[in-house]
Subunit: 217 residues, 4 copies
DNA sequence: GATGAATGAGGATTCATTCAT
DNA sequence: TATGAATGAATCCTCATTCAT
């Protein structure tokens, strides 16, 4: 019902009264706690009280900043999503896109994988929250990625139909996701091996489709 | 209304009290209802009362046949698991395994995909029930599949190390799972396209590894 | 509340069709099972299903003979009560009542104690069922005993007021009950010691009240 | 589960947040309500919702302070037990123990009887809760009383064996308990009469055993 | 009569959310 | 604002009792 609190952090300027600085800290605190709890038990099993306790505040305080449990997940997902999108923006930089496929895969996958390794809550949330607000964010993320991937593919396969590109992009994302599961579940050399294997799968999958060598614009 | 003659002919002898036939039907009914509800909402969000209602019985009836919510999931998962394993047994028949890779992929993937399309609850349950009894079954299934896949791979790549085989098998399963998501989320021609694409991905991934053409024993 | 089925077993004659003989056996079976279950867990914790199972019949069968759970306890209590009253009738025989106090105590207490040792369910039921129907039976038993005890006391203390007799009788019964707890909780020599101690307590309590030596009529 | 509330009332200083004062009151309120309900219906038949309603709060509130139904009984029993033990400590004061038997009985029994009359829930709980936590406390209480009684007896009967003392003590406690039932079931003059009768029974039971007149140390 | 499935109200417990201080 | 108590609907599960066969 209540939706009053929705100011983006970006909107805050240095002129903001320091009264609200504490509030910002509280929100960050709560989101961090939520990330931990969601990660451990998943969204459904996480109770607002446990999040509050993890954050070291009372449940009442939590509800001073978030209208309900879903809003926490949405905000957390949103922030991570934003950072993810920034990542993607850099990963899909034009200067990367004109590289040959192997280098391109490195340039795109490495930062994305790194981001997910550093923010495991992201994956946990996106996966199976069942919360509309998040699913929506997830879909936005997915669509964004899809578009980017399709864009890249287009430069490699100028003759492909849109349907083909869509199909292939979805497969690529699927392969990426399932590999990410393996990557996040392992460590060290094994993790590196899965990363290499992911690139190998994608390379072999995509190479036969490539009809053009992209060149710098 | 009533369907007295519907029990399995083989298992039921004249000594078996026909009273219990109703119980058998109820159990099947409840499991089917549970499959639907689990599929829609996932295990955690599914309430026993909603399962009972879906099955058209009272909550007490449900508890006459299952001691608790988890037991329903375990039983359902177990039955599906068993049928899945039988599928796999047929899919990985030796006569299939000596075929060339493309035919092999058809022979193995088609029945498994068909099974999952017919039993979407299977995937939903295996995925994220959080129920130990199922997770365990899931792991058994996974390990079983892994072993089978490794066995096949071994015949194609006799020189690979065990670690390599393990890595590759896990990737194959991961790719299969993520494609299954796409397959289950679509229908008709699109679904068929994803099936074809899955085979394509696997074929291109595996072909370079093949060092031997397996022959019938 | 419901009391439809209330025919006393005593009312059955040899002319009764043997069809009902099975019913009688069933009832006895069920009552015996109930005695065991009530004894183990107490009335409240005993479920009708557990009684039925203990008796080796289905719950439906149980309800063919007893309208509800309470009726089982009432019937069981009633039967034991009847046998108890027969005991008491013999224990309080006139030929016993004219004995001197020590012999009288032996004559009265020994059979009563023996009965309770052989029928522990009796005590368990009478004690704390909380069921009106039983409490009622218990009170009838209590009142009957009270009357008998008062009758005996009267012969020993012809000058006592009714209030005094009532008071004393209640104390005697109370002492008896608490001692019975100790007696039932022990065995062998210890049990015998408690029996002796009970008699000792009563003897010392009553002796100072005795004003007349009763003589045979 | 719950660990928060454990400070003794004495421990509350001005530094203690007064927020929690309300909690303390609620707990007392709930325990009082529980005492009433347990008294009326016994432990098993008492529902947590009825306790909450009796206390004028919602079921959730009850569970904010007690993890489950049993904990309520254990806490209530524990508090009463503690107060009972304090009573006993005063009742069995050395200065009482060197009095002649009649005065001793007055000194010991009167406060204990008074306590039970003021806290009828105590007896109800101790009796037949079936709760391990309470049964345990009950046994501790019983054993403590037994020891105290034996201690007193020892001063009166220096020559008795331990077995004899144990037997006698158990009888005394049994007589006391059964009389307490009568005392709690009556009022006014009748109650007083039962109290007097109890003392009379014990006096007559014990007098013949006394071999020594205890003197102040 | 016997059976065992069916019923459904009721009880313990949880947790997202609100309120008084 | 922060706190923690308060709320109550919803959930899992039980069991006395009834019903269809």
């Amino acid at each position: 019902m209540r939706q009053e609190r929705q100011e983006k952090p970006a909107a805050r300027t240095s002129a903001t009264p320091r009264r609200q600085a504490r509030g910002e800290r509280r929100i960050a605190q709560l989101l961090e706690a939520a990330a931990g709890v969601f990660c451990k038990n998943g969204y459904a099993a996480a109770s607002t009280n446990s999040i509050a306790k993890e954050a070291g505040v009372s449940p009442g305080t939590l509800y001073q900043f978030f209208p309900n449990k879903e809003a926490i997940a949405v905000e957390l997902g949103g922030q991570l999503l934003q950072r993810a999108n920034e990542m993607h923006g850099q990963a899909f930089l034009p200067e990367n896109l004109c590289k040959p496929l192997p280098e391109l895969l490195d340039a795109v996958l490495d930062p994305v994988i790194a981001f997910n390794c550093e923010n495991p809550a992201f994956w946990a949330l996106m996966h199976g929250s069942g919360v509309p607000g998040i699913t929506q964010g997830h879909e936005a993320l997915h669509d964004g990625l899809l578009t980017r991937v399709q864009g890249v593919l287009r430069t490699f396969c100028p003759d492909a139909t849109n349907a083909e590109l869509n199909l292939t992009s979805n497969m690529i994302l699927g392969i990426f996701k399932s590999s990410l599961d393996l990557i996040l579940a392992t460590e060290g050399a094994e993790r590196a091996a899965y990363v290499a294997e992911l690139k190998s799968v994608l390379l072999r999958y995509l190479e036969p489709m490539v009809t053009t060598t992209p060149t710098a614009p």
